[in-house]
Symmetry: D2
Subunit: 335 residues, 4 copies
Amino acid sequence: MKVVTLKAPGGLDNLVVEKREAPGEPGPDEIRVRLHASSLNFHDYGVAIGAIPTADGRIPMADGAGVVEAVGDGVTDFSVGDAVVSTFFPTWLEGPARVGDFSTTPGDGVDGYALESVVRPATWFTHQPKGYSHEESATLTTAGLTAWRALVADGGLKAGDTVLVLGTGGVSIFALQFARMMGARVIATSSSEEKLERLKAMGAEHVIHYRQEPEWGRKVKEITAGVGVDHVVEVGGPGTLPQSIEAVRIGGHISLIGVLTGRQGDIPTAKLMAKQARLQGLIVGSRRQQMEMIQAIEACGMKPLIDSSFALEDIAAAFRHQESGKHFGKICLNW
Amino acid sequence: MKVVTLKAPGGLDNLVVEKREAPGEPGPDEIRVRLHASSLNFHDYGVAIGAIPTADGRIPMADGAGVVEAVGDGVTDFSVGDAVVSTFFPTWLEGPARVGDFSTTPGDGVDGYALESVVRPATWFTHQPKGYSHEESATLTTAGLTAWRALVADGGLKAGDTVLVLGTGGVSIFALQFARMMGARVIATSSSEEKLERLKAMGAEHVIHYRQEPEWGRKVKEITAGVGVDHVVEVGGPGTLPQSIEAVRIGGHISLIGVLTGRQGDIPTAKLMAKQARLQGLIVGSRRQQMEMIQAIEACGMKPLIDSSFALEDIAAAFRHQESGKHFGKICLNW
Amino acid sequence: MKVVTLKAPGGLDNLVVEKREAPGEPGPDEIRVRLHASSLNFHDYGVAIGAIPTADGRIPMADGAGVVEAVGDGVTDFSVGDAVVSTFFPTWLEGPARVGDFSTTPGDGVDGYALESVVRPATWFTHQPKGYSHEESATLTTAGLTAWRALVADGGLKAGDTVLVLGTGGVSIFALQFARMMGARVIATSSSEEKLERLKAMGAEHVIHYRQEPEWGRKVKEITAGVGVDHVVEVGGPGTLPQSIEAVRIGGHISLIGVLTGRQGDIPTAKLMAKQARLQGLIVGSRRQQMEMIQAIEACGMKPLIDSSFALEDIAAAFRHQESGKHFGKICLNW
Amino acid sequence: MKVVTLKAPGGLDNLVVEKREAPGEPGPDEIRVRLHASSLNFHDYGVAIGAIPTADGRIPMADGAGVVEAVGDGVTDFSVGDAVVSTFFPTWLEGPARVGDFSTTPGDGVDGYALESVVRPATWFTHQPKGYSHEESATLTTAGLTAWRALVADGGLKAGDTVLVLGTGGVSIFALQFARMMGARVIATSSSEEKLERLKAMGAEHVIHYRQEPEWGRKVKEITAGVGVDHVVEVGGPGTLPQSIEAVRIGGHISLIGVLTGRQGDIPTAKLMAKQARLQGLIVGSRRQQMEMIQAIEACGMKPLIDSSFALEDIAAAFRHQESGKHFGKICLNW
């Protein structure tokens, strides 16, 4: 079978496709999954370019979707033929956050899903949403669940809330979609007029060109009659957080997700205090939250926005497309 | 001005329309409201027929909607001309439940809104949803807020949850609508084929004819693959609660609202315990919750379902229509 | 090794002590535990007398404490020599309630701990509190965790809250102790003057003789200046629940635990509704909650109240003592 | 009567004592309070030195305790002779945070309590804890409630949790005491050996000399077996927050209170994210939370730690003592 591995010391040119023998039969609590799709996230990109150090020969990609080919004797949740999708933290099944690193995350601390077939514990997967393709399902593991957890599990989102999303990456687009499907209002930012139009078409009530409005936090307050938003899905990190703090309402909620602009920086802590706001760090979520998200997706018939698809062999090209920042929604791999 | 009062000892024939002088100017924290609409609830009916004892000459109706005619000096939330709607517990502004009776409820412990003009503290009202008529707004005070609080404030409703609603009264229809607008699935019951069709048309995924299926709790479990529902909006009381306990999932939530079938009765407490379910008593909600519901209504463009409208003078006829049980949605008064 | 089994059709005379071969080596995720103590609960009693039907030859007792004798290769949480205590729902590790029956509970759906040695998955146990004896630890599995979950996990107990506990069974005494160690006030009931004195000595601020005060719900309201209590640990069931509903404050919390007075009965649902109170069904709790309880016990140096101890061979005598209702605190088995 | 005012442009020398006429009778919803004590907080200090700009002639001090001398006709909560204590946000009665500035705070946006008698709305005060002196009560308004809200209302503190407190200011000492009275463990820091000893004597299980251990965040992790603490009461601001983020456990909670080390600074946001921790900004709390804190104080018999007391006329000397940083617990004013 085909396997993508990342040769040391990292970099997109070091992603190579090899041949390996397919895995054998699953153990009692395991399943064998014939994988067909993955999707790209900023974390996968960090691994791929070597910014996040991993073991030599690591198989990349946290997201994996495919079909169950064989099940162990003790497995009750899955049958042969079931369409399944991987989880980001395979050992975090439910309850509060228990993991603070990527040592158990496929494509980082352990081998990921850029290959044709794996044998893994059954609990490393959930069912796909009914009616989803493999590549649609693959978008859920990282980006989908991050947005769901931020707004729903952490944020207790309700109809009538106002949500601010930043840019047009995978998490932000999912956040926009989940907010809309639960009756919330959305304000979105971008630096492209064309993308702003697309955000509106997807249901954003207000859009802000953040280059034309570098003080976009204040702009958000204007739009909300001086109140600020209930939730910010903060994917930028220290470069955008000061504006997000400006934008949030008193007692509001900022989901701290991103490292796009760096790992540390100058933050107006006194303003966060005075806003009595909650800055909630998070990385993706639990398997239980993934199952709840999938129930919601099925109930609402929501579909992820896929920017483009690449063959498994073209994984480096896919990452280069991600690097360009031109995408709107998710970049997928299919095989 | 015209005023409806309830002459002792109660009964629909004792609802009489009188003439009174209009109220004068509001005090510093008060507003004067020209009322135009109300809506009927089971509680109002109890007062009207004398089942709930009140003072002689009580002006009935908890729900009131109209236009601000004058504002006191200290009022900042409202201006002359604003469209407003009353609150059920005028002194419960926010925070956890603080009231356990109807001594402050308009139309019961104090005079209600079946009249042309009142002067009241400004905090007894909120703004109407934008785009709502007075009669649409009047449906929110009791029935709308009860459903909103049950599912959203108490229940933490999220997309993908499953909600069971009983019958086609005001609270149940609102619950169906709120559930749908937040991406939840709905199972609804009725004893009329025609009403079941209408429930489906409003978005109920499954409907149950509760006379044909007297063990409808078990039926709900079948529909949900043996799991049961996340939320039951239990408006029936002791006559339906045993089936509701059967219908709810392990760890689920039953909103105990109703006294339609009585004030006490035989309840399978051991099953409630084994289900590890929560039976949450509630009466309507706080002013803050009403404001949040209205934000949600505005964000979603949701409209209440109005069964029929009567003139203020025809209030007794309106209650007789309610008594007949033929309505589907809210019965309103307009003047 | 010695094993107690329950011969069909149940009844205390059918508890017999047999000899069996000790179990062998644990599998990769298992541990072998040399058991030394158990404790008696109402549930165990129901099994023992045959009121709760189980398989012929079932080994009774949900509570088990002992020492790890051998660990499988994959076990990281325990080492040989560790003192451990069993969990009531071995497969409910954390998160919301997932179980609604006793099919996985040791001593009911599966064999329990009235024997000298078992091999079980490591996750069926937690560490004992430091400084606890085996019999002290054994009291935690069922009674301790039920009280902890009711007040802390479900109830969000805080200092200054008022808690009502009923009688002097294991759960009620634990609830009194947990409430006191978190700064809450306690009102306790009993039908024995001597027990009332002991309850006071343990920190109950007020005690009520429930035979002399059959309307003890009203008495509780008097004691609390008409307000009612924040939490009721309702172990009685339908026979006591009406008084508990009377006793709880508006917006308060009743933990529905007990079946002592029956499995169903006449309940004043309208009063529960008007109180806007929460009646929360529960059965024990999760492994995670047990670990949190043990952390609390260690931080506070709290010790369970043990009424009396019996040898394993005298298990029938121990249950007869429980049946007499004369105990105050936990009845234990030691071997 | 005597009144302290702050003459422009601020500075401790500008605190002057004047004579004024005592206020007259209270309006219908007001009470007149004869004040007897206040206590000093960092916020009051900021006003006093002019770092926080206020109106010319502002009467300083947010904390005020005294005796009700007269009550308006509409007041039901208080009687003449009642001992009362002020609230920090007079208009924030309950529910989520609604205020993001000090425009309504006595001693900042409005006149405070450094005077002999005031007439104010009754809701600006609560009852004092039974058995408290006026100066003990005065410590609760700002420092006491900040600590209570951080740990209990925001943090859901439970027995067995571990709390990190920084230094020996009023909030930190209250946090230590509340944590201990609810069965939590405390780790405390100071730069004085003598103070570390006193912290231990008050119940801190571990203490850290933060000058000798500049990497005290790592030290906290060592003490907690690599886990980190559940709650950090972060009163330092940007200068200490990086160590607090190091010290908190995965999924833990940091109460962001302080501006002692500045209003903004370099923060490791990626680490906060990876910790999946919650950084919760807060300023004091609501009147309802103050009432709950007082219930807890009464149930536990807890007393605040008073460092020293000054006469009202010596208010400048009191602030100079605060400025010196030598205090341990609260500095009070008495008159």
